[in-house]
Amino acid sequence: MFSKPAMRAKIGVLVGLVVVAAALWMFQGLGSGRRDFILGLRWEKLTALILIGTSVAVATVLFQTVSRNRILTPSIMGFDALYLLIQTLAVAALGVAGFAMLAVGPKFLIETALMAVLALGLFGALLGRGGGTADDIARTILTGVVLGILFRAGSSLIGRLLDPNAYATVQAISFANFGRPNAALIGWGAALSLPAIAIALWLGPRLDVLGLGRDRAVTLGLNYRAMVMGTLALTAVLVAVSTALVGPVAFLGLIVAGLTHGLFPAARHRLRLLAAALIACLLLVLGQWVFERILGQQAVLSVVIEFVGGVLFLVLLLRGRIR
């Protein structure tokens, strides 16, 4: 898997950078008093950021392989918004008090299961059609984007229909904030996302075959349909974890996947997944450190990612990278 020494060196450098970023995050500007308290708080955020970064990175790589497209990410296709809608429906069904009372874990598991089922139905149908011409791909993407808008508008409408408290709850989960990840869910998120990532790594060689396209994959003996559905299910679970922890992050995956492709061209999937996860962690930890400690703007990182990622997406579109 690490056949080329150059790639091994790059991975080594990335690991080193992530360690440095994590160390900066943990130990920079540590005052003299109440060290354990501060360290505990920072450790919690660090694990959350790493969990989010890894989940988003793996989800994006998997999704790009299934859709055989370099500019698609789950969030662009409305996965995050779908999870948001499910959460809103949960608030509607249980009421704000019920939503707050229900144990975090089971609620999260139910929402994630629902998300996986819906994502399979919706995006399996949308992507399973094959998508022949460029026009068709563009229409598929546009459909995903508009579905995202529809889901968002739907959760906003449901929130309005309930009562001001419910609306405030819906608003709070609708916007990403890396400065305040949902700490209660870190354990549950890890319990779901780590096995999903392990399965993705185990499936690595099959993902390589999947990336060759339907005809060649079938010729090589891959159960194409099952593989597509399985990969989409993994993607849905990972997106659910990251959205539950921090909220929707539209373009993080695109930036990560773009950088991975630039730094590790034509890499096999196991390597690509690893590299993408490292790059995502580095971006998030370093970015959050810069914005929170240096610039004093705790909540701005997600907006900056949105801005940069959007520009990147436009550039890719203009260069005709839609295929």
Partner: protein, 317 residues
């Protein structure tokens, strides 16, 4: 004569909605009540007019935008124009907080114009003949400009102020004296009506238009100004109302064809019906509380957009 019947029907529906809109609201209006007249003149009539004006102007702006971009799937809110207008409003609020209202409107219109021009520059560079890429690029541009707006808003503590413009078009704040700028949007739409034939020809493409004796650049500039002014006025007085300019023109052109001289009137009526209807629904579903018309339209409009995307008439290959 199908034309006439559609017009008549649209007129009747609009009149019915307008009457309903005068009667529906948190306060009960009865004929004998001396307060009723006040409620009507200060709140209900302005609100009804505002919804009709905004809807009609947005629908017309949508048609104009579609002629300029030569693409059926664009409208002001899929070009980044509202976000650009909001940028202008923030800019002027930061530079000159005390500026009179017309200066603010001018700033919003200018930045909206810049936004739409940027959009046109971008789509000109897209690979040709890919119809669905154009709205996609526009939506992403809108996202980028929106992120810039939020970014500046965080830095300057103006975020709440901004969200009023950007999030959802809402008519509950409309009272006499607070919506009159929408007449400017209506005026801009009326100008488009006078130039309807030119926009029809512009939709044929620059070369055909030139061959038919039109100066395409001049018509295009006029169209851009119309779109920018309508967007800026709507965004700054009631907030953005999505999808009206996309859904209504598509439905109307499916029924009546592409001759703008014939279709602009029904399009304007359709926009007014859609927005006024959404506002009414929003007023009724959780009466006496309200749901913003923009939220209702976000759901209805996105669903209709998806249907339009997938139910195009198939051409013979």
């Amino acid at each position: 004569m199908r034309d006439g019947r559609i017009r008549l029907l649209a007129g009747l529906v609009l009149a019915g909605l307008a009457v309903a809109s005068l009667a529906v609201g948190a306060a009960n209006v009865s004929v004998r009540d001396p307060q009723a007249w006040l409620v009507l003149t200060v709140s209900r009539v302005p609100r009804t007019l505002a919804a009709m004006l905004a809807g009609a102007a947005l629908a017309v702006a949508g048609v104009v935008m579609q002629q300029i971009a030569r693409n059926k799937f664009v409208e002001p809110s899929t070009t980044g124009a509202p976000e650009a207008a909001a940028l202008g409003l923030i800019g002027i609020t930061l530079i000159a907080p005390e500026a009179p209202i017309w200066v603010k409107m001018l700033a919003a219109s200018v930045t909206a114009l810049l936004g739409v021009t940027l959009f046109l520059q971008i789509i000109r560079r897209l690979p040709p003949k890919e119809v669905f890429l154009v709205p996609l690029a526009g939506l992403i541009l809108a996202g980028i400009l929106g992120a810039a707006v939020t970014w500046i808003g965080w830095g300057t503590d103006l975020l709440q102020y901004i969200s009023i413009w950007l999030l959802t078009g809402e008519f509950s704040g409309v009272i006499a004296g607070r919506y009159e700028l929408l007449w400017v949007a209506g005026l801009a739409a009326a100008i488009a009506w006078f130039a309807a034939d030119r926009f029809s020809i512009l939709g044929l493409g620059t070369e055909s238009a030139t061959a038919l004796g039109l100066r395409p650049q001049a018509v295009m500039r006029l169209g851009l100004v119309v779109v920018a002014v309508v967007t800026a006025m709507v965004v700054s007085s009631v907030g953005m109302i999505p999808f009206v300019g996309l859904v209504v023109p598509n439905i109307v052109s499916r029924m009546l064809g592409d001759n703008l001289r014939r279709t602009l009137g029904p399009t304007a009526m359709g926009g007014a019906i859609l927005v006024l209807g959404s506002d009414l629904v929003g007023r009724l579903v959780i009466h006496p509380y309200e749901v913003p018309a923009g939220t209702v339209l976000g759901v209805v409009g996105a669903a209709l957009f998806l249907m339009l995307l997938w139910r195009r008439p198939r051409r013979v290959q």
